[in-house]
């Protein structure tokens, strides 16, 4: 396996280099699935590949350990007020930007204000809405300095005021929207501060080169407070959109890590590269939206239940997807913190019984051979989605259901289903932060991502109650009850839980599977590395 960036050059070049350079750099080569939108975290478009780069070069108040758990980062510790609405973060003394300037609370205030500035037009600004006045600032109704963040003690302390107790707030702070921005650099260079010559970052690495659409290179940041404990000298992120080509590059030793290998290759990889092939549960749900708008057949609960009863999720996960997904019976995936997985009723077990029950429900709903149930199923174009759609249509066929399948590229797909022109539609959700609320909002009345327009007052009330509950156990009970309400209503067809799929060079340590698929390179070491 490749561990030295120089290996890319031919054998001859290598031997001459080896003579010239006695100590070779430990460089990690990662194949990521797409191109970073920007080093300005307010401009990021939300790909997993983007957070991989950003978490290596920036560090928030809280960061992730190899297991994906939140641990103190730029803040050494924090105090939470009685009412759970005020957080006081104490910043570490030795926190520095890569140009040696200190990281201050002012940089956090500046970064968060920049993110929520309407002029920044940040797509993910809403993730910081738990902060007081954030939404009003982002809507342009209040000035930037109305935001509930304050720098105290000459920038050593950051005080954050929230709208409501938000137990997952520290989790949220690991997201790139909560990173600081180098105020001094932005003031000096304006919009050009992100250019390679000007950029400064506060993470374990700092960007050195960006060949658009091909490679981003970062080098170890000597000013990082924990630099002595960072083993790698640098990381290259190769834009590897063609993931089958990525597998070839991994096998050729050009990549140490390939993120998100194609699910269709799982069996082959497991058989041929067993030590390198990783697959583990991820905080993501793959489900079918059921359109509950008036006039749609799926507005009838009996129809929704019947469609759920005959969905054979094990067949999907084990046969159609060859083990590269897990079968799902709920919306909130396993691994969610402070949450037990719920279970939709009656959708597992004796298939013949389920089928009989479903047939009866369809009949009761008024459908039969003379008046078959016709469903418009929409999915966004991809081989995976197509396979699943065909399988689902086949599973529903014994009920006399006639499925009309329509696929469209993602942009068009989501616009169409937002407008409500469908009965059943493919959707997926990957958690932004590890909390059940992140998933349950998908069924809240009037929320944009609630494509099926599911509207249940009891459900919404439970979520409201949970939002104002500080006790984690009580909050968990409320959220679980909310999900059960929706599952009892067969509000959607849960199908699969996502899994993380990575190829990892067995020579490296400090790279661990975790449910959020976050792998800071800061912890990675080559086996024989010092």
């Amino acid at each position: 396996m490749l561990r030295h960036s120089h290996t890319l050059l031919g054998a001859m070049a290598l031997s001459s280099l080896a003579l010239a350079a006695p100590a070779q750099a430990d460089t990690l080569n990662i194949g990521v699935m797409g191109e970073l939108a920007s080093f300005d975290t307010s401009q990021v478009s939300g790909g997993v590949w983007e957070s991989q780069v950003l978490m290596d070069v920036y560090e928030g108040l809280v960061k992730k350990n190899p297991e994906g758990e939140a641990i103190p980062g730029m803040a050494t510790d924090w105090d939470i007020s009685e009412d759970g609405q005020t957080y006081t973060f104490h910043l570490r003394d030795d926190a520095k930007w890569s140009d040696g300037e200190p990281v201050t609370a002012e940089d956090f205030v500046f970064g968060w204000q920049h993110l929520l500035d309407p002029a920044s037009a940040s797509k993910y600004a809403y993730l910081l809405y738990p902060i007081q006045n954030a939404e009003a600032v982002n809507s342009g109704e209040k000035p930037l300095d109305a935001l509930g963040v304050e720098s105290l003690d000459d920038g050593k302390t950051l005080k954050v005021t929230l709208n409501a107790p938000t137990p997952y707030f520290p989790q949220l702070l690991t997201h790139y929207t909560a990173y600081p921005l180098p105020k001094h650099a932005v003031e000096e260079y304006g919009k050009q501060w992100v250019k390679m010559d000007n950029i400064v970052t506060n993470g374990a690495f700092t960007p050195t080169e960006w060949v658009s659409q091909s490679r981003i290179s970062v080098a170890k940041n000597p000013e990082y407070y924990d630099a002595d404990d960072v083993s790698l000298d640098g990381v290259n992120y190769f834009n590897t959109e063609d993931r089958n080509a990525g597998i070839s590059r991994f096998r050729a030793g050009e990549l140490d890590v390939l993120r998100e290998y194609p699910s269709s290759r799982y069996q082959w990889l497991k058989d041929n590269l067993p030590e390198a092939t990783h697959l583990s549960p991820m905080l993501g749900s793959y489900y079918y939206v059921l359109n509950t708008r008036d006039g749609r057949p799926t507005a009838d609960k009996r129809v929704r239940k019947a469609l759920n009863l005959v969905a054979r999720r094990k067949v999907l996960s084990e046969q159609i997807m060859a083990g590269s997904f897990k079968d799902a019976y709920s919306l909130v995936p396993p691994g969610t913190s402070h949450y037990d997985v719920q279970h939709m009723d009656g959708v597992e077990g004796d298939y013949a019984k389920r089928l009989a029950k479903a047939k009866q429900l369809i009949k009761e709903a008024g459908y039969g051979p003379d008046h078959p149930l016709q469903l418009k199923l929409r999915y966004n174009t991809s081989d995976e989605h197509k396979k699943i759609a065909i399988a689902m249509a086949a599973m529903w066929k014994p009920l006399g259901v006639e499925v009309e399948m329509t696929n469209a590229e993602a942009t068009v797909h989501y616009q169409t289903i937002q407008e409500g022109d469908f009965d059943v539609a493919r959707a997926g959700w990957i958690a932004d932060y590890n909390d059940a609320e992140n998933f349950l909002t998908l069924l809240r009345g009037g929320v944009g991502n609630n494509y099926g327009d599911y509207d249940n007052a009891e459900y919404d009330t439970l979520l409201d109650q949970a939002a104002s509950t500080q006790d984690l156990d009580k909050r968990e009970a409320l959220l679980e009850k909310a999900e059960n309400t929706a599952l009892d209503d067969y509000a959607l067809v849960p199908l699969l839980y996502y899994v993380t799929r990575n190829l990892v060079n067995p020579e490296i340590t400090g790279w661990q599977d975790n449910a959020e698929d976050d792998h800071p390179s800061r912890w990675v070491k080559f086996h024989d590395g010092d």
Partner: protein, 308 residues
């Protein structure tokens, strides 16, 4: 000739304007916008995005704004790759595509032309059948099949060459993409050259040349090859424009930072400014290549003259 060239360049301006205008409005008519995605955005964020990119203005105003900027040579910022302007993206990617595409065309000519000529001279022999059979296979097998096979065989199994990556255009990184890109072109050029050679060899002036007692070598080199090159030349114009603007397949499989992927990705992402940038660039290149081909024509065929 000079005035002809100038005239052609002047008429290119309205052509490009029409192309730009049609593309501008077609892009806006396409369903979905640059910021639609899996996640529905809160309305205030959508409004911020629209305002930041002037998408909240009436379409004619957006058009005038775009044309105004374009006249000043400003293609605008990419909607998707936000740390780069469209000009920077094209300026960074085009030399790469030009290098790979140029080498591929060169290789295709060096191999394709002789193969076509030999096949024509050995018409209906085993050599002809072999060359043309191989060429047919070359055309039939798409490069998204050839490229991964090349990467697998030479990059993984034999480990002679890198399976991907650009590495600043180092020679080992160039070999596989150039081969993958040229195979189809070799096949096209060989077939075209063969057909045109056969036609020329059957013409009256070749018969005359032979009747004069010229040797076969002289007949072919002096009288047959030049006119036979004409169809290949007219094919080369658009082919070169196409190939040096990159190939999304080759770029993605080998991880090459060319501009080919922008044509596809920008359209899928509804990255309006980048789509327009690539359209203008490609349009101008096509106009230019066609002009060059026409000028080359007159050099190859004395019957064609561009006088006023």
């Amino acid at each position: 000739m000079l005035s002809y060239t100038l005239k052609r360049l002047l008429t290119a301006i309205p052509t490009l304007l029409i192309v730009i205008t049609i593309s501008f409005f077609l892009m806006r008519v396409a369903p979905g916008g640059p910021f639609d995605g899996e996640r529905q955005l809160p309305p205030e964020i959508e409004a911020n995005l629209k305002a930041a990119y002037h998408l909240d203005e009436p379409l004619p105003q957006q058009y005038l704004r775009y044309m105004g900027n374009l006249l000043q040579g400003d293609f605008g910022p990419s909607f998707k790759y936000k740390d780069f302007s469209v000009t920077e993206l094209i300026a960074q990617g085009f030399p790469v595509s030009l290098e790979i595409g140029g080498l591929a065309i060169l290789l295709a000519l060096l191999i394709g032309l002789p193969l076509g000529i030999i096949a024509a001279l050995r018409r209906n022999t085993m050599i002809d059948y072999t060359v043309m059979g191989t060429a047919l296979a070359g055309i039939a097998v798409p490069n998204f099949v050839i490229a991964p096979i090349l990467a697998l065989v030479f990059g993984v199994l034999l480990a002679w060459l890198p399976a991907g990556g650009w590495n600043g255009g180092a020679l080992p990184n160039l070999v596989l993409p150039v081969i993958a890109l040229s195979i189809q072109q070799i096949a096209y050029i060989a077939r075209m050259m063969r057909a045109s050679m056969i036609e020329v060899l059957g013409s009256h002036y070749i018969r005359t040349a032979r009747a004069k007692g010229l040797s076969e070598r002289q007949v072919i080199w002096r009288h047959a090859i030049r006119p036979a090159l004409l169809p290949v030349t007219s094919y080369l114009g658009p082919a070169i424009a196409g190939i040096i603007t990159g190939s999304v397949v080759i770029e993605q499989i080998f991880g090459i930072p060319g501009i080919g992927r922008y044509f596809v990705q920008a359209a899928l992402n509804r990255d309006y400014t980048l789509v327009m940038g690539t359209v203008v660039f490609y349009g101008a290149l096509i106009v230019l290549m066609n002009l060059l081909v026409d000028l080359l024509y007159s050099a190859l065929d004395p019957q064609i003259r561009y006088d006023d």
